[in-house]
Symmetry: D2
Subunit: 300 residues, 4 copies
């Protein structure tokens, strides 16, 4: 077989020019504000997440077909979760459920796997109690550092790990370092550990992340990378501002003043609507209030 | 909800510029010749089908993530079939099976659905006895003509229809019109019926097709469209020619002289290797022999 | 929810007489009354549908692992639908969605395939506009009569057929014969056609059915078979009666007086709670009212 | 194939003594000998694995519908693997692939989950290089001991863990303790560690196992439980003996003298064919030779 193998591999073929593939290029969205049907967020915008799952505009990796997830805070204490390994655009249950469920806080994520298995337990958002977590990016050299990071997870939490992704371990590290008490500090410590362990193993830029996490009342969104060249992150800005800028657009008056979106990629092109989140920043969204804090990993 | 719905639909958003989406842009490959591991055909070429399932070069619709199928003639009388609704690039069983099965005749297909359900019974190749069938293209206005075409299927075959695609009905029409006796004539009659029924219902260009079918010994490949602007189709040409052109490429000597490929899109860039199949043509591949016949739909 | 939950868990039943193995032994449940979390219906009862999907009590075919579906009338005009080809007991999304959605009218179905493909488009309930339909039983000799029955479907509806089951064709026949105007008459005509076509093809007992259909306000449930030996069907009887019989059971007071269940198999063992629906009967449930009508297929 | 097929269909069995319900009641089969179509092993026997997936005879838990896997040694260096989360009886690809692949060494497993996710990475057999591993049973108190056992896995292997089952960790422990050099000793050490860690955490009976592992040339099968009440395990005994006992059964002559099966449950009712493997035993099958060794966990 060697000969045939090499023939086809090198032959009939010529050279292939690899793209500037960005590993782990997922997409996510964190919504809070007026209760809204999930389908409004997932399917209706011109550059909706579901559209992005086929054709992302900001990434060289244009397809995010390796799974999907949505979490929402409805009428029950625990947030709902719907995750799927099908491409988002094909999941009829997701379409149907989205047209039936209204929520005032929604996390949604589409996944482009960087190699780990395509299975529901690897889909974001991850959930622990009332907490949700989703991540775009990667822990570099994960096969090398996975064990050491897993050992750093609180032993009482370890058995709750169900999948095999870097993102889930990152979540459990944040829980270990106090995500339920002080999210910015917990994420800073988890990021610090990831960087320290990575560098000990010779990884130059150990962490690439935009992360969103929530307890159902406040959303914390982070943009950071060891290299200082982080994945994109945008926030929706002030609905009031939009209303003033577009007095003739009645639909802008349908959402309450406290409605906010944080997204890895804008959902449309309305001028002035999207504000880029700076590097090394944590955005805290609570009600209509938004604060930007500097984000620096902390040595553990 | 109306207001929120319109808001998000028109707002935050601006205009979206729809691409020149080609409906039903699938990809397929028909191989015959030296027995080869399936993985050599599906994964190894630079622009392999699996690569195309993420990034097709010749189509505006770059993602074919709505299912996959491969049929092969192994040691048994009936061809084997492996179809999946997962994106081809994620299916570990396909990867594993492909690395274990050797066959001298292989059909493979990746699907981009135009709306019908993503389910195994809608995946190509379709099989009937020893016959395989796969199709890139569409029957225009299928919802309008579906019933009349289904009624034209031989009543003894009707109950074997399992899916909901135009491609499967097209296959059963060809079987009805004698695919097992005279494939070019049977496909011509099936195409003729599709055009007649379509035009009766006001469809201007009823048929767009590249089709491949085989009985395990001969492959017939068709390129045709009512409009005269058919999907691309290529044949591999003569392995001997390649050997003369590339005397220094030893791998070209690994495949037997009768090896042939017909593909909707070339698997690589080797100059002179791929010959475009002209419009309105049927390619007959039997052993190392290849004949090109004119293809014209026949009135039924 | 505690009270309703315990009510259903301990509740409602009677004795069961084991039947003989019948092909297509599905299970279904039609609920109307107090808005209830879906999980209360699907998971909480002692002999819940999900439990039945592993271990049915009334059938020799104890496993119904070939798919699942639930339809509900929530806040939107169109009923929601969640169907799955996974065994019900394994579907985490179903579990999660069920714990988030409250509805006052719910149809649920677990499937034991008799040979047709296990795919979402073959899962009950089927939906058309605001209508839902689910079926336990079979059209005997379906491969033989499928074509003739499909041709009898209103041509304007034919293209809406997505799957390959007898149950879906039966639904489209009922729609053809006026399901949206007069359900008992439409089902009687559809059943009459099924029997006539079957007998023309030499099938002695062409139809075996328990069927439930609803428009979101009224539920019609049918028990009939050509042989006069129909699958089991039970109704919950009067909640008021239960309250009088069990004055010490506080949970029976948690559901409104108009709550009704029609089920293919009782959900628990509470004596006297379940009334068997007689052969050849249509049960009409509207609000707290219930009427039993004789059901006889009509010649078309 | 007719002869082999009939042989297995009518063949090989004995009496079965129903056990009590045990968690994690999977079923498996380890075949070596004459090359055989996979379907002959998986589908044809009267009490085949696929039949067992619906109706096991020896377990109160009659449904094993939580996934399936088959590994085989074909023409390639690495064994092939096909795992699925669908119930085995519904997987059309498995049926098709099984009718196309011939192998002289086959491992097959059907899974009844005890709670961990139903995902391909939790399906047996597990593979590492040329090694396969499958397990019926459980590590008791796994959530409590999971972390400590995972830490005991060789750090260079840790990142290869993909799923969340006790069975996969057990495999990696055996690899850690030398499965590639001395399987009985490695499994004894892994079992010893499991028992020690379990007891440290207050688990009285930490291990329940029948395990099979192979390198493609020898199969080692183990029956053991901390309590001394292990899951059932049978071996096929001598084909020569069968031939003498049943001189009129021509099909028994179709398999070579070195054909052997080790199974968690007999595949049919042929008297005298199946020999129960005693408690605390390791069966070594190499060619036509079979040795029984005592098996005792070793302190690590």
């Amino acid at each position: 077989m060697t000969c045939r193998s090499r023939f086809i591999r090198s032959g009939w073929v010529g050279t292939s020019t690899p793209g500037t593939r960005l590993d782990g290029m997922c997409r996510w969205l964190a919504y809070s504000g007026s209760p809204v049907l999930l389908e409004e967020l997932l399917y209706k915008p011109a550059n909706s997440l579901v559209t992005q799952s086929r054709h992302s505009r900001l990434g060289v990796e244009t397809t995010n077909g390796d799974g999907f997830g949505v979490g929402w805070y409805g009428t029950e204490a625990t947030p709902g979760l719907f995750v799927s390994t099908e491409p988002a655009w094909n999941d009829r249950n997701l379409l149907d459920v989205s047209s039936q469920i209204t929520a005032g806080r929604v996390f949604a994520h589409i996944r482009a796997s960087t190699g780990s298995a395509v299975q529901q337990t690897n889909c974001h958002p991850f959930r622990y109690g009332r907490r949700l977590w989703m991540h775009n990016g990667l822990i570099a050299g994960f096969p090398v550092v996975r064990r050491e990071l897993a050992l750093a997870v609180d032993p009482s939490l370890y058995h709750r790990i169900e999948g095999s992704t870097d993102s889930e371990i990152f979540f459990f590290l944040a829980l270990t370092f106090g995500l339920e008490e002080d999210p910015p500090a917990a994420v800073a410590r988890a990021a610090g550990l990831v960087e320290a362990v990575g560098r000990n193993h010779g990884v130059v830029y150990p962490l690439q992340m935009t992360v969103a996490t929530t307890d159902g009342e406040t959303t914390w969104a982070f943009r950071y990378s060891s290299r200082g060249r982080s994945r994109s992150l945008f926030r929706s800005g002030d609905v009031m501002t939009l209303r003033l800028q577009y007095p003739d657009n009645p639909v802008l008056h349908g959402l309450s003043a406290d409605t906010r979106l944080v997204v890895s990629e804008p959902l449309g092109d309305l001028h002035g609507a999207w504000l880029e989140v700076p590097e090394s920043t944590c955005v805290v969204v609570r009600g209509g209030g938004e604060r930007l804090l500097p984000f620096v990993p902390l040595a553990v």
